[in-house]
């Protein structure tokens, strides 16, 4: 009875879409990197850095979209470091990625203390407000669930469509996919594998940072260190879940978000009274793992994922 009430409330679906938004940005970013053949484990740290950079830029007086742009640039810069180490230097992508996460997280903490040495609780900003889409938001139920979100959420879904278009309908996207499948094919056709891979990592990292910035600029109005809270790692799994396809990855993000929104509401039902709340927190992760097992049985992993490409090696 309670469960049905939850599923039929517009607020539940609105929360699902909202919770999915940062995951969509970061998952698309990771997907772009992996399609080009680079596993970017810096995602968690880049999201933290993006969350902080966007927020502090707005706090310092930039408009909200300025904050989004700053987050993208900071992510792109961190991605630039990652890409130099992982692409032309061909270092282990696991080590580079974990290193980037540690570096980005620590650097964020450091910057926070440098900029705000005295504060005990982080200052608030005025975040993105829900934007009712004319006409569509008036549709009963669906209007409240889907078309009364913030601008960044709409951007996330738009971005998924753009990403799918670029990957499958442009020469650039073809080159990116080929770089992740068979870099030799790219090189023998006279394109630079290095440039394509570095570009993908830089842009992808920028998107991850916007995912982080969503948390401070749209979902909430301030910055806390624990706020990214493993979302980056979830996105790595979502890319696999989505079989490296933008559309499926968005579905995965929505599914995870639905589990998350569901468990929060379930905690408030009578069931929440006798089950420890940690059990509910666990739910989305367990369900994600199960879904991952089912979905990724025959996923098409990019054949050259994590394989460095060195010109002239035989």
């Amino acid at each position: 009875m309670d469960i049905l009430d939850i599923l039929f409330s517009a607020a539940f679906w609105a929360a699902t879409v909202r919770i999915a938004s940062p995951l969509i940005f970061a998952t698309l970013g990771e997907l772009l990197c992996e399609r080009a053949g680079v596993l970017n484990l810096g995602i968690e740290g880049i999201m933290v850095a993006g969350a902080f950079a966007g927020w502090i830029a707005v706090w310092a007086g930039l408009p909200l979209w300025g904050g989004v742009a700053v987050a993208f640039l900071v992510g792109a810069m961190l991605g630039g470091v990652h890409s130099v180490l992982s692409v032309p230097f061909g270092l282990s992508q696991h080590v580079v990625g974990i290193g980037m996460t540690l570096l980005a997280t620590s650097l964020t903490f450091y910057m926070y203390r440098v900029i705000l040495p005295e504060v005990s609780s982080p200052p608030k900003i005025t975040a993105f407000q829900p934007l009712d889409i004319p006409v569509l938001s008036d549709i009963p139920f669906f209007g409240a669930a889907l078309f009364s979100q913030t601008a960044l959420t709409y951007l996330a879904f738009l971005l998924a469509a753009v990403m799918a278009y670029v990957l499958y309908r442009t020469p650039l996207g073809l080159a990116v996919r080929a770089a992740g499948e068979r870099p030799e094919a790219v090189a023998t056709q006279g394109l630079s594998v290095t440039a394509i891979r570095m570009g993908a990592v830089i842009v992808g990292s920028g998107l991850m940072a916007i995912g982080g910035a969503f948390l401070t600029l749209s979902a909430f109005d301030s910055f806390f260190f624990e706020m990214v809270n493993g979302r980056g790692w979830i996105c790595i799994a979502l890319v696999v879940f989505g079989a490296w396809r933008p559309g499926k990855a968005v579905l995965g993000a929505l599914l995870f978000a639905a589990f998350d929104a569901f468990q929060i509401r379930l905690q408030q039902t009578p069931m929440g009274a006798f089950l420890p709340y940690q059990f509910f927190l666990m739910m989305p992760y367990i369900l994600s793992i199960l879904a991952l097992i089912v979905m990724s049985r025959r996923a098409d992993v990019p054949a050259a994922l994590m394989v460095p490409f060195n010109k002239g090696e035989r």
């Binding site: 309908r169 442009t170 020469p171 650039l172 996207g173 073809l174 080159a175 996919r177 080929a178 499948e181 068979r182 030799e184 094919a185 790219v186 090189a187 023998t188 056709q189 006279g190 394109l191 098409d300 990019p302 054949a303 010109k311 002239g312 035989r314």
Partner: protein, 514 residues
């Protein structure tokens, strides 16, 4: 084909020199490819053909020398330059993305990277047109992973033609093809020449070279040793130019057959996937004898090889070594009983690509011969590798270089040395000369015969009937996981073997040479 004196050569390589460390891969190589000509580039593995092509395509930069296409000099080290000048290359190992479609592979890099639309309809139409004109039948929308090897090669050729290549370079194109596919390829190439293309054909198969080429350039140890027109040369001369000496064609002398060394009795293994298992196979290998195993690939050869090398234990039947039944069976036990293995795939199972020669040389023996109280005796191992290098003529810059840098022939010589230096009782030689050049083939064969003469029991598994018939004392045929009765060397005619290999069962006419 008449060419006017004024026409610049389609391709001109002038004084190309390239060093890798202390190895001179190309030493002052110069030649021209005339327009409308098929030039064969002939040379053993490791003669420098591939390096030369990589220089032409800007993958490597030459130390000295220059490349020009239709009179225009190419900038060195720019991978796109040769492509743009109209030179297309079909690599020995295809460079296709398996998860992409045919048209995507062909379109890759041909449209401006900043363009917002991938004109797929246009690409498909042009592919269909080229397919029709050059008899290269392939579906533009097929995924490359679903294509046969022959079809994938057609895609590679289409890739070059799509870019309006006027010079086509094929690196050992027939190595991966069935005879029928090779015939189709030759028809396509003749068609291409008629349409005005110029072709460089890299190979070490002499009959192909003689069938297709107008001129033949021979490389040896990185140097261009001769250029001949087809009319003024013959296969024998080409062989001696390639390997530097007249090839030693060993003759068969009957060997004395000794005691049984390895016996399989009614051995069966389960089938896995498309691979046949063994079905009630009985086989005895005797000292001093070479047993040939003929068969179409995938009929149980792999299972038999895995059983003998200890990788799988039979689900039924017995293994006996020197008359003694064996109860436990593993690769280590197989090694300890003196089984030396030349694996089918030297890259995947024969060597570890990023280990150096020393490490690869002691892979099977480091535990007992090259360790002291649990520590590896690197000095001994290195000395051992040096010995192998000298004794088995492994050409390399040193035993510290990674084995991936060796050509196939040199890698195989190291594996051969690794096996033979242990004076094995039993030698399992699975496709020992696949992909090797003539010089290396002769060398490996001579060594195997010597080993048999010295008392080893040799099992030679090969898909090459000529090889089996040339070396073996007795021949078995394997088909659908079943093993034929042994046929003596003289009765093993292609007619009989072929009949059995085709899966007609082993009954019927008793093999007799007519």
């Amino acid at each position: 084909m008449a060419t006017t004196v004024q026409a610049p050569p389609a391709l001109c390589l002038a004084n190309i020199t390239k060093r890798f460390g202390s190895v001179l891969a190309n030493d002052d190589v110069s030649f021209d490819l005339n327009q409308g000509e098929v030039l064969a580039l002939l040379g053993e593995n490791g003669a420098g053909k591939t390096t030369l092509m990589n220089i032409l395509f800007g993958q490597y930069t030459a130390d000295t020398g220059s490349v020009s296409v239709f009179g225009e000099t190419l900038p060195p080290g720019k991978p796109g330059a040769a492509l743009r000048a109209g030179v297309g290359m079909v690599h020995q190992h295809f460079t296709l993305a398996a998860n992409l479609s045919v048209w995507e592979n062909i379109a890759l890099g041909t449209q401006g990277i900043g363009s917002f639309v991938l004109r797929s309809g246009q690409v498909r139409a042009k592919i269909r047109d080229l397919s029709a004109r050059f008899h290269l039948d392939v579906d533009p929308d097929a995924r490359v992973s679903t294509l046969s090897v022959g079809e994938q090669q057609r895609v590679e050729i289409l890739k070059a033609l799509y870019r309006d290549a006027r010079v086509l370079i094929l690196d050992e194109p027939t190595a991966v093809l069935t005879p029928q596919e090779a015939q189709d390829l030759f028809a396509t190439l003749r068609q291409a020449v008629e349409m005005g293309l110029s072709i460089i054909f890299i190979s070490h198969k002499l009959h192909e070279v003689m069938a297709l080429a107008d001129r033949i350039a021979v490389l040896r140890h990185g140097r261009l040793v001769a250029t001949r027109t087809r009319a003024e040369t013959n296969p024998d001369e080409l062989v001696s130019l390639m390997v530097g000496t007249a090839v030693d064609r060993h003759d068969y002398t009957p060997r004395t057959v000794g005691a049984p060394r390895l016996s399989l009795r009614n051995v069966s293994t389960p089938s896995t996937g498309t691979r046949f298992g063994l079905n009630n196979v009985s086989l005895t290998l005797h000292a001093g004898q070479i047993v040939g195993l003929a068969g179409v690939s995938g009929n149980g050869q792999a299972a038999l090889s895995d059983v003998i090398s200890g990788l799988i234990t039979p689900s039924g039947g017995d293994i006996g070594i020197a008359g003694q039944g064996i109860t436990e069976w593993s690769p280590r036990i197989a090694l300890s009983h003196g089984i030396g293995r030349i694996p089918e795939d030297r890259h995947k199972t024969g060597t570890i690509a990023d280990f150096d020669l020393t490490e690869n040389a002691v892979l099977e023996t480091y535990r007992d011969q090259f360790s002291r109280r649990g520590w590896i005796d690197w000095r001994g191992a290195r000395a051992h590798a040096e010995t192998l290098r000298e004794t088995y003529d492994v050409r390399t810059s040193g035993v510290d270089s990674r084995i991936r840098l060796l050509s196939g022939g040199n890698m195989q010589k190291l594996i051969l040395g690794r096996v033979l230096e242990q004076s094995p009782q039993i030698i399992l030689a699975n496709q020992p000369v696949r992909g090797l050049d003539i010089g290396a083939v002769t060398y490996v064969h001579r060594r195997l015969v010597e080993a048999a003469e010295n008392g080893a029991a040799v099992l030679l598994i090969s898909e090459d009937l000529d090889e089996v018939r040339k070396l073996s004392d007795v021949v078995h045929v394997i088909s659908d996981g079943r093993l034929s009765p042994p046929i003596p060397r003289d009765d093993a005619t292609p007619a009989v073997l072929g009949h059995w290999m085709a899966g007609n069962g082993f009954e019927g006419e008793v093999p007799h040479a007519s």
